[in-house]
Symmetry: D2
Subunit: 216 residues, 4 copies
């Protein structure tokens, strides 16, 4: 029984099970360079990831595979902040600030769902599980951030709720390199097929039949 | 904003907030040397931790501070195993096997609660939150294992449910050294006061008034 | 042990415990006469209740006692409708329709929370519990509808989550007279102090100290 | 739109959807005449229902259709009683008392699940949803009591979690005749096919193929 995960190279094969939903977690910033004010210590990678995330979302839309958007938001009063100021983060994702807005191009369309959440896991105090059941999804694909916080804890809840999850390792960014890598290892510990490349997602999308336009 | 946690030395000061409950997570094995069959790759430390855990539990009992015991159990049919075979772990914690039993000395007394769980977080599909509210607890102290799985994910849910959590770093054991340390860092990321020594817990217990025996 | 509730006269005394939050459940219709298209069989009372609900909400705002607004909404695709078409109701609360909008005067202010829900209980798949904890509420006051569906099942969850609940009997309307009354009896079965008049709420509000205006 | 349910005659056709699980809710009493001490005001029917419930459970076992047993239990300390003393019920289902035990013949076999719950809904703070997913159930059949409390609120949660539920009207007993009937109407409001006779369950069971004995 070799429990410890020592190789966390992503797989080139998505291997989804049942229905698929793409979950875009907390890609915010409203087009500003950074979602936080003083980002000197943030793990880099957002500027490269964000346009790639837009491309992936648009590819899902073309094939009519559902996308759900997650946005962390707190009222300026911080009534809903819980214990989120007891750790490394200061006040963040304040409603009304530009940097709290979704990244341009990642705003939901009328038929798509936006879930505004108050905690790290996208399942906590939200309708995410209910919507995934509505879509008859069994596999959730995760992109966004941060790898070691909202992505990791969303993956844990997906796992505990019996979903297969796939984290796109080149489309997630962590709070720092080490915790980013540790979170990937922890996710692979949970599901050995969970780490994938965006390339593998595109290859799977190509196998999804095109949607025929139905005249209205 | 320095998000990344680079120092995870435990604190010598428990600093509990409000009511306290000790949660003993998955200290199983039934007295066997190991809770799993082939443990060559397991992070060592259980043999040293277990008697210390018994001592701590007894000290809580003396001061009438509540203790809740958590035990992971799965039916031999594995109906309840969910996705737990999709990762690093094989079938584990099978009902009826000796190694699934609680460690001797850690069996709940009649007035104490035992929560048998099917997933990693002790809050998932259980009455833990309800019991903590019943005890009017605001701080949960975590001991047991594994640091990077059941302890970490129980801490995350405690955090999201607005509890203060304290992980006793010398009384938790992980799946491996690296993920053990990464999980401690992740917990400190959530709550900067969350890592403590068993020494600090004992020092706090000394400040709890002795319970006077009431004649029946 | 006389279990059955035979008298469900509301109390003239609110008797709140701890912090109070007013929860306005599904007062929708967007100013139309009715929230449903064909309302011949609906229990009457909405036209009288709605302006009274606006007055009560404004009185809470004056005293800075928090108000949370609940709105049932479903996408036109009905992905999120669950089993809600298996019973008496047809498609309802469709996003984008005028009758799905909140009643005029009951739209949340920027500092107030709006919870859009997909099921009957306002706690199911929502952040309501989390927000009530944030407000340090122990008592929830319920107005809106329908008595025997969303009000009843929200009250049940509040009860099970250890809140004291108060249903304002002259500000709730049911699907029909008999089920309206049966639901009031069921709520009184759960908490004997749970049925109150709007008069009792106003009398309590008078005891809440006025908020002094703080210069900005 | 005729919302109100005026006819609650049970159906003679079970019409299950997908996998089926029988959920036996709170049939307790340990063989005593009554599960409560002073039962003068209790709706009668338990003495007739209980042996019929045993027969039905045994018929499910013969066809290997899963049965899950629910038992309400509270510690003598009442730490876990929540708000359940604020209404019509006094202290009830105390651990260790004979009347808290399951009715003879309704004790789970080793391969069957027993869920001990602290609140009225069998889903609240329990693993029921997780187990139903494990059994791949989409339809739950409810028997036991009380119709207007634990049965009703379990049905509501089943409904909100997208299960089809069937309440066997001749195998449930309420707190009183009127609330028993009102709860049946409320359940039919939720799912128009939800009220069935035990006869219809037996007729469906006959269509389930016999299990061939596999030599060990």
């Amino acid at each position: 029984m070799a429990l410890e995960v020592t190789d966390w190279t992503p797989s080139g094969d998505l291997k989804p099970v049942g229905g698929v939903v793409l979950v875009v977690v907390d890609i915010q910033g409203g087009g500003l360079n950074s979602p936080v004010e003083n980002d000197a210590n943030l793990m880099p990678g957002r500027a490269e990831r964000n346009p790639k995330a837009v491309d992936l979302v648009n590819s899902f839309r073309e094939k009519r595979v559902p996308v759900i958007f997650i946005q962390e938001v707190h009222k300026p009063s911080l009534v809903d902040i819980g214990r989120e100021l007891d750790g490394s983060e200061g006040p963040h994702c304040i409603e009304g600030e530009q940097r709290t807005r979704l990244h341009p191009g990642l705003e939901p369309r009328p038929e798509e769902y936006l879930i505004q959440k108050r905690r790290y896991s996208a399942f906590f105090g939200t309708e995410l599980d209910l919507l995934l059941r509505g879509y008859q999804a069994r596999t959730v694909i995760l992109i966004g951030g941060m790898t070691d916080v909202c992505i990791h804890y969303t993956a844990v809840d997906a796992h505990q709720l019996d979903y297969h999850f796939r984290t796109v390792t080149d489309l997630v960014v962590g709070s720092g390199e080490e915790l980013h890598e540790a979170a990937l290892r922890a996710m692979k510990y949970l599901q050995r097929d969970s780490l994938v490349t965006s390339q593998s997602v595109y290859e799977w999308l190509e196998t999804v039949p095109a949607v025929e336009e139905v005249p209205a």
